[in-house]
């Protein structure tokens, strides 16, 4: 249980700071493109270190796990106290390296403690799924209640607590890996994780930065995904063969992401059905593919390392592919909302001279919002006036703003759906191998 908790906390770190990004931007005043390094540094370091860490963990799992925990805790504290953006990114990279050691060694330790590889793999996989899916929700709640730094301060003692799992753990020599990694399952994991970037990162940005939800309600709004993922991973394990479970999961993820790309209105409630589909798909696909990647292979940590490397390389690929699509569309949306907002003002029933002032305020507000990476407050832009003409104008401007923001995310969600759907190729090509 404690080992599973440490795996969950480490893998939650992949997405846990997403909700805190606007606060981090406000604190360090960096460019938006630079800000993405808070996420990229962790995932890239984890992807690159997973295999070396797994090979080390094969020989001395308890030592690697213990050292990984201590370094992870130290790096978390560095992130929490970071005086500059560079220190924060460096801390995140160290967290990624140490996290790789913790996650890979935990799989070997779980195998020894449960005495069955299959059960250890199931616990380890479920912990990873829950952690990754819960990340944004936990991050949102902590950011609103205690500030973004608390994300790092809270996780440090939780992970440190995992050291109790080392008591009584026997160090058993692990044989050399007998087989090569399962290419099909790992490539599919990479593609799915790339697509899930949209659900775990972009959706949170849409809720907070786009639709102006506070971190706490936004965090609660995205808890649907982990709940659905846990339920699907638990109740979907009877779906056989594994390739059919993985295929069902991929179809649900792609369907949910496509629905997010075609949202008919702005509002958190519209994201619930797609989140349900994505969460269920995540639970089915990740459990099936990870089980297949590990099943029957000796040196669990090494093959676990491959799945972790594939998943987090997928996150980096997703960030690199989807961020330019999103930022380009956001730029176009700024132009569109400026034009449609000005049209709404010109066609409104407010006094002519007020129209000139409001139109100019819109231009200034959009420009400021661009600099500060936030959406302008329509009521502030229009100012405090009484009368139905002003109320109508505020409502029309808010509608245009919601439409522009929602549209800015559309193509990125659709591209993520295609990326996830591409995972069907390796699954179906290697389905004979995936059938166990």
């Amino acid at each position: 249980m404690v080992l599973a908790l440490s795996v969950g906390v480490v893998l939650a770190d992949s997405s846990v700071v997403t909700i805190a990004l606007p606060d981090i931007l406000a604190r360090y005043h960096v460019e938006i493109s630079t800000l993405a390094w808070v996420l990229t540094a962790f995932n890239l370091a984890l992807a690159l270190s997973a295999l070396p860490a797994a090979f080390l963990a094969r020989r001395r799992p308890a030592h690697v796990f213990g050292l990984g925990i201590l370094v992870f805790v130290a790096a978390s504290l560095v992130c929490g106290f970071a005086g500059s953006f560079g220190v924060l990114v460096a801390g995140r990279a160290v967290q990624g390296v140490a996290g790789a050691a913790v996650v890979c060694a935990a799989l070997d330790l779980l195998s020894q403690l449960t005495e069955t590889d299959a059960r250890a793999a199931r616990i380890w996989t479920l912990a990873g799924i829950v952690g990754a899916a819960l990340g944004p929700a936990v991050g949102g709640i902590l950011t609103q209640l205690l500030g973004w730094e608390s994300i790092f301060f809270v996780q440090a003692p939780v992970v440190l607590f995992a050291l109790v799992a080392l008591r009584g753990a026997r160090v058993v020599p692990v044989p050399e890996p007998a087989e090569r990694p399962h290419v099909g399952a790992n490539v599919a994991l990479l593609l799915i994780s790339g697509g899930l970037v949209a659900a775990l990162f972009l959706l949170v940005i849409l809720l907070i930065n786009g639709w102006r939800l506070d971190p706490l309600p936004a965090g609660l709004a995205v808890t649907i995904m982990p709940v659905a993922a846990i339920a699907a991973a638990r109740f979907g394990k009877t779906i056989e063969p594994l390739w059919a479970r993985a295929t069902s999961g991929v179809i649900l993820i792609a369907g949910g992401l496509a629905a997010l790309g075609w949202l008919p209105h702005a509002g958190a409630a519209w994201t619930f059905p797609p989140q349900l589909a994505i969460g269920a798909g995540l639970g089915l696909a990740l459990s099936a593919l990870t089980e297949r990647a590990l099943a029957g292979r000796s040196a669990q940590a090494v093959h676990g390392g491959w799945t972790i490397a594939a998943r987090h390389a997928g996150v980096v690929v997703g960030l690199l592919l989807l961020t330019p699509i999103f930022t380009t569309d956001l730029h176009h949306s700024e132009r569109d909302v400026l034009a449609s907002g000005t049209a709404a003002v010109l066609d409104s029933r407010i006094p002519p001279l007020d129209k000139i002032a409001v139109a100019r305020h819109i231009a200034v507000a959009v420009d400021e919002a661009k600099q500060e990476a936030r959406i302008p407050d329509v009521s502030e832009v229009v100012g405090t006036h009484k009368g139905s003409a002003y109320a109508d104008l505020v409502s029309k401007l808010q509608d245009q703003l919601d439409r522009a923001v929602t549209q800015a995310f559309s193509r990125a969600f659709l591209a993520a759906a295609l990326l996830s759907l591409a995972a069907l190729v390796p699954i179906l090509l290697r389905r004979r191998e995936v059938s166990v």
Binding site: A244, G256, L284, S340, A343, L353, H361
Partner: protein, 147 residues
């Protein structure tokens, strides 16, 4: 196999419902074509009449420059914005000045013919438009309350 069919049906149903509710067209409203005629709104009072004349003039100028009326309005937000607009559309500020002025003259004529403007007020407006450079009008707008 049944799981795949259920997953495909659920995904398809979700997408179809969202598209049927307008998911593919949920985007900011397109601005009107400045070259298409707009309805004359029967303005009440001089201020509203003047507003319609200015908007109509901006439509005319925007149509000639192949831009939207809204883009022209934003260009008149400040001298800097006006210069940036002129650079972007490869037009001198003098040419822009002429386009807006001729549009205003035409709109005043239209308003007079529609009976929305008294001829004496129309003559006063023409005199004002002839003498006032557009760039100075921008400066004047900056000094209005609310700026």
């Amino acid at each position: 196999m049944r799981a795949i069919v259920w997953a495909a049906a659920a995904s398809l149903a979700l997408i179809v419902v969202y598209l049927a509710l307008g998911g593919a067209s949920y985007a900011p409203a397109r601005v009107a074509d400045p070259c298409s005629p707009r309805d004359w709104r029967n303005p009440q009072g001089l201020q509203q009449t003047a507003e319609q004349i200015v908007l109509s003039a901006l439509d005319g100028a925007a149509c000639k420059l192949h831009v939207s009326r809204e883009e022209m309005v934003l260009a008149f937000g400040s001298r800097d914005a006006l210069r940036a607009f002129a650079r972007k559309h490869h037009v001198s500020t003098q040419k822009l000045d002429e386009l807006v002025r001729s549009g205003l003259m035409r709109s005043i004529d239209d308003a007079e013919q529609a009976g929305a403007l008294n001829p004496t007020i129309g003559d006063l407006m023409r005199g004002f438009v002839r003498r006032f450079p557009v760039a100075e009008l921008v400066d004047l707008l900056q000094q209005l309350p609310g700026f």
